[in-house]
């Protein structure tokens, strides 16, 4: 069995956001996309730290875009997911899916676990 180096939860969210946004993906839009869809507050530092890690792993690529006045004359950095990143995302989601398979329906499974654990008095 080949060893799969799975992505972390936040890395999955970031890669999925890159796929959704396509060429419009940069810091502000990625952060907003994750906040909107995952209902999760994201700090800009956590996002850039993750993007830089993904770039080191060669799952994403970046390029510096144009400077605009609403950014105080500073440039944007656009990110795009690479084929390796997409393959890794698929692997991670598949691994997650196989772990969750058969656990349906959730409430029943959780109820079974609660009764299976003996209560020590």
């Amino acid at each position: 069995m080949s060893r799969i180096k799975n992505l972390g939860e936040f890395e999955i969210l970031v890669l999925a956001a890159l796929i959704r946004l396509g060429p419009d993906a940069y810091g502000v839009t990625i952060r907003k996309e994750i906040e909107k869809r995952a209902s999760r507050s994201v700090s800009i530092g956590a996002l850039y730290s993750t993007l830089s890690r993904l770039e080191e792993k060669r799952y994403v690529a970046s390029r510096v875009g144009e400077a605009t006045s609403e950014r105080g004359g500073r440039a944007k950095r656009h990110y795009v997911i690479k084929a390796e990143g997409q393959a890794q995302l698929e692997k991670s989601i598949r691994a997650l899916g196989s772990m969750l398979k058969g656990l349906d329906p959730w409430p029943k499974t959780l109820k079974m676990r609660e009764t299976a654990v003996p209560v020590r008095r």
Partner: protein, 218 residues
């Protein structure tokens, strides 16, 4: 309701506030040069959007972002430090530490004793002066070593002093400071002040010398 009215009044009457300068400076300090402009640009863009509705909320959002981002950015910066650079910095600290202390024990004290013996002078003042003078030569060499191994050529000299020499100097001289404030050692206050006022320029002078040597070598 009252807050909304106040914000509306702010929008209509006052000039728009910029993003918090202190927060921006803090961010610039902890970030590496490569990402600084992009990240500050992102924050600026969102800040401007938010400040259209409420300047106060925009300012607090900005600070909140900085506070939450700082740990991630510091960790990222530490990860990006090359192990070789870290090793060199530690080697410089250790050698400066050893040099200054052995210089003190072997060279500075011996020089003071030899001076007293040669001049046959029993003057406490002159032997202390020779001791201090020779000790400061050691401090300057220590400063030079720290500069050669830790200073970055692309940084201005005074930024190197603030970010590298000052913390390194504090580490190297911490035991000396502690010894000097120890009442058991019975150093007079004037000697402590004199030592400090000589050590700081000696360290910076040594660092300047180290930078000069390095520029000549390259």
């Amino acid at each position: 309701m009252a807050k909304d009215t106040e914000d509306a009044r702010n929008r209509s009457t006052s000039t728009p506030l910029g993003s918090p300068k202190v927060a921006r400076a803090l961010l610039a300090f902890i970030m590496d040069a490569a990402d600084k402009a992009v990240l500050i640009g992102d924050l600026e863009e969102e800040f401007r959007l938010l400040s259209r509705h409420s300047q106060r909320n925009a300012q607090s959002w900005y600070w909140h972002q900085i506070m939450r981002s700082a740990p991630h950015l510091i960790l990222k910066r530490l990860r990006s430090l090359k192990m070789q650079q870290l090793g060199l910095a530690l080697a410089a600290l250790l050698s400066a530490f050893l040099l200054i202390y052995y210089w003190d024990i072997w060279v500075a004290r011996s020089a003071a004793r030899t001076f007293s013996a040669m001049t046959n002078a029993s003057s406490y003042f002159f032997s202390r002066a020779v001791y201090l003078l020779v000790q400061m030569v050691g401090v300057a060499i220590g400063g030079g070593l720290i500069a050669i191994f830790t200073f970055r050529a692309e940084m201005p000299f005074f930024k190197n002093i603030a970010c590298r020499l000052a913390p390194a100097g504090l580490i190297v001289f911490a035991p000396t400071f502690l010894a000097m404030i120890n009442p058991a050692d019975n150093y007079p206050l004037s000697f402590r002040l004199l030592w400090l006022s000589l050590a700081v320029p000696s360290l910076i002078g040594g660092a300047r010398g180290g930078v000069w040597l390095q520029s000549r070598r390259s």
